[in-house]
């Protein structure tokens, strides 16, 4: 089913069955599929993946095949419909799993168990299968049954109470999440890592693996620095850290600059960028670390100076002197930036509704095994015939009966 003339992906030959909805599980499946794995996405007959209903839609016209996030999260996959909880559907599923290396399962643990997709059931039937579960709070622990959401996961990670970082002096202002679905996407990425880890574990031990990924721990693991601040210094980790960086306001927006305390050449380069002003000649200005009480005055002077610049202009001049400074871009400015365009990071992908739209491609470039979109995200049940008849050898009659029973 793949185009023989296209170069192979790194994971060519790996077979994955995905029974997951929403964002985290499907993102894991997408990463593996774009790397070359064959991913068969199994959806509920009728409604399909709930994320088919997520806005935004292409040209704002809602349709199960026009969801932009769905179209992104399900590239390169084969799509079938199957009621995995009904006995005839379960039988077909097990025929799929018999050929698979990995099954990727999403949802809450109780629902997973009810559908017979728990590790005890699957490993009994398929020794050697890697079973990756992506669930709101994980399969074990006192909160395993809890309901999750992007907001709840982001706040559980420790990042929320520190966001937005610049509101240091305003503990009465509510914690925020970052834009988009950062916790769920990081969980999906981590699930892909965990799945590969498990495949190597299977090679080392010969055993199938139960991979238990929660939607809360992957983002929480980003908070190692604040965990260390707490355990080493007793700082409980509230709002205020921007890790040594600061926003500088220009004529038309802002730039961000980070003067790493250990990199004195960057400090000097920044003073050079400002033309080594008279006010910066005192001993306090020898390094960032020696600013002390002058810190506030320093930043006030910097803002006064930067106000005459446009942000892109200042950014280019600063980078010309190796000063770590970046513009604060809108999404449009990031997408249209010269660098992102030159690398082809944002490229047209087709959607099942027939349109195509520019989307992020991959977070890495492989020199030998290009990462690429192999197939358009499936319309509901698009590959039923190819997979059930072509792959599993179901007869037309068997498939017809399954359809009539509402299983497919």
């Amino acid at each position: 089913m793949t185009d023989a003339e296209e170069p192979e992906g790194a994971l060519e030959g790996l077979k994955v069955v995905e029974i997951a909805e929403g964002i985290s599980g499907p993102y894991c499946g997408k990463l593996l599929a774009d790397l070359g794995a064959e991913v068969i996405k199994v959806e509920r007959p009728g409604a399909g993946d709930a994320s088919r209903g997520f806005a935004p839609f292409y040209h704002d016209e809602p349709s199960p095949d026009a969801g932009l996030l769905f179209g992104f999260l399900n590239t390169s996959k084969l799509g079938v419909t199957l009621d995995v909880a009904a006995p005839p559907g379960r039988e077909i599923l097990h025929r799929l799993l018999a050929e698979a290396d990995v099954v990727l399962v999403g949802g809450r643990p109780a629902a997973i168990e009810r559908a017979g997709l728990d590790y005890a059931s699957l490993s009994e039937a398929h020794a050697g299968l890697v079973c990756t579960y992506v669930t709101p709070f994980g399969l074990t622990g006192p909160h395993a049954g809890w309901q999750g959401s992007e907001l709840v996961a982001f706040q559980a990670s420790g990042l929320g109470i520190m966001t937005p970082a610049e509101r240091r002096g305003s503990p009465e202002m509510r914690p925020l999440k970052a834009g988009g679905h950062q916790a769920l996407m990081v969980a999906g990425l981590t699930a892909a890592v965990a799945t590969m880890h498990a495949l190597f574990a299977r090679e080392a031990s010969g055993d199938g693996q139960c991979v238990d990924v929660s939607e809360v721990e992957p983002l929480t693991s980003h908070q190692f620095l604040n965990l260390a601040r707490w355990t080493y210094t007793g700082d409980p980790g509230y709002r205020g850290y921007t890790e040594g960086s600061g926003r500088i306001w220009c004529r038309d927006g802002a730039v961000f600059m980070l003067l790493f305390a250990g990199q004195e050449h960057q400090w000097q380069a920044f003073l050079d960028l400002m033309g080594n002003p008279e006010w910066a000649q005192g001993p306090e200005y020898r390094s960032r670390a020696s600013l002390g009480e002058k810190t506030e005055e320093f930043w006030a002077r910097v803002h006064e100076w930067a106000g005459g610049y446009g942000k892109q202009e200042l950014y280019r001049e600063a980078q010309g002197r190796r000063v770590p400074m970046f513009p604060e871009n809108s999404i449009a400015e990031a997408v249209e930036s010269e660098q992102v365009r030159a690398r082809g990071f944002v490229q047209e992908i087709p959607l099942a509704c027939g349109a195509s739209v520019r989307a992020p491609t991959a977070p890495y470039q492989f020199s030998e095994t290009p990462v690429r979109v192999r197939r358009v995200a499936p319309s509901l049940g698009r590959d039923n015939d190819a997979v059930f008849r072509g792959r599993l050898g179901l007869t037309a009659e068997e498939l017809r009966r399954a359809r009539e029973a509402g299983v497919v």
């Binding site: 909160h143 925020l176 970052a178 574990a201 080392a204 700082d235 890790e243 305390a261 990031a334």
Partner: protein, 407 residues
Amino acid sequence: MSDGEPLPLSGVTVADFSWVLAGPRCTSWLGAMGARVIKIEGPKRPDQYRSVAVFEAGKAGIDGSGAFHPLNHTKLGCAIDFGHPKGLALAKRIVAISDVVVENFSHGVMERAGLGYEELRQLKPDVIMVSSSAMGKSGPDKHHVAYGTLIHAFAGLNSVTGYEGESAGTVGGTFADPLTGTTMVLAVLAALWRRRRTGRGQLIDLSMVEATMMQLPELVMDYTANGRVAAPRGNDDGIAAPNDCYPCRGEHDWVAISVRSQEEWEAFCGALGRPAWCADPRFADQQSRFEHREALNRHVSEWTRTLSAAAATELLQAAGVAAGPSYSAAQLYADPHYNARGLFVEVEHPVVGRKPVMGLPYRLAPGPGPRYWAAPTLRQHTDLVLRDILELDEAEIASLREEGVVA
């Protein structure tokens, strides 16, 4: 370092030239999976994170930083000045016995040092090199230098974070760096998987800006398809209400609540004991609740203020409503769930003693592994690497040390 049963990455050697955050996070995970990771630092130019001021009282110094430790567990650490010709020769010998090379210097540093991919594959034809930088290894701005928080600004993450009506906000703590580290791990594992089947290595080029933009697909596509440029909107998702953080009884005490369906709304009202405002027709369906979320959020806040975040969470979760506290670092470290799942792993460090690091944020059973040991001190494994791995004799090592090539 153990000789027990084979771990998933047993037999894989990683030459680790990385520093600061993203690269070290990647290689610590590879170490936990069983790879032999050899971290190479300059004796006079050690990892900058060794100087980040997270020190216990009386433990400040090159080996004491709590910023360095959690990113460098489960590695061997050696100090080799690869700016010196003899040090470069040693670094090349390490590469020649390695399967994977990881680096995250600014673009061009490895090439100028004589350690670019083209040189490395002469030394080890099937080497996998993972190279991460702010902007990637191609394009007109590949030389630009940046750190994590600048990446957030460039990638547009700031522009979609913040209170409604504001222009941008900054994500607290670190985000793009650890994200890039995790992405690097996936790239290494995929390339190793490929190499086991074909015997071929490759170069993987990773841009932190792109790793971050990859996290914002629907916002990128809403712009490219619909011309809409997203702005900060607090915690709103445009659909659900209540869906926000609400103040609780204590200081820094907040509960996040997400009610995303009629069924969950009924459960939510039930958990609160069905106060009169729940029957307000403005709150009858999801669309109307979202339109009137300001009024709704005032009612919810009045209720949450009477409770601790922990108590509100228990009540709501018992009713099947998504809820949870906004954790500080101190609170998440005390969380019974994270602790029961073994998210924090204690390791014994020669300078700071027993300290937690973040373990791999998932469980794998039956394994084997993962395994963990504390981050190396600056010179901890120099002799081990030179003597036992590169098979130098004691006299050679002593002379290199005298010349300042190694420490």
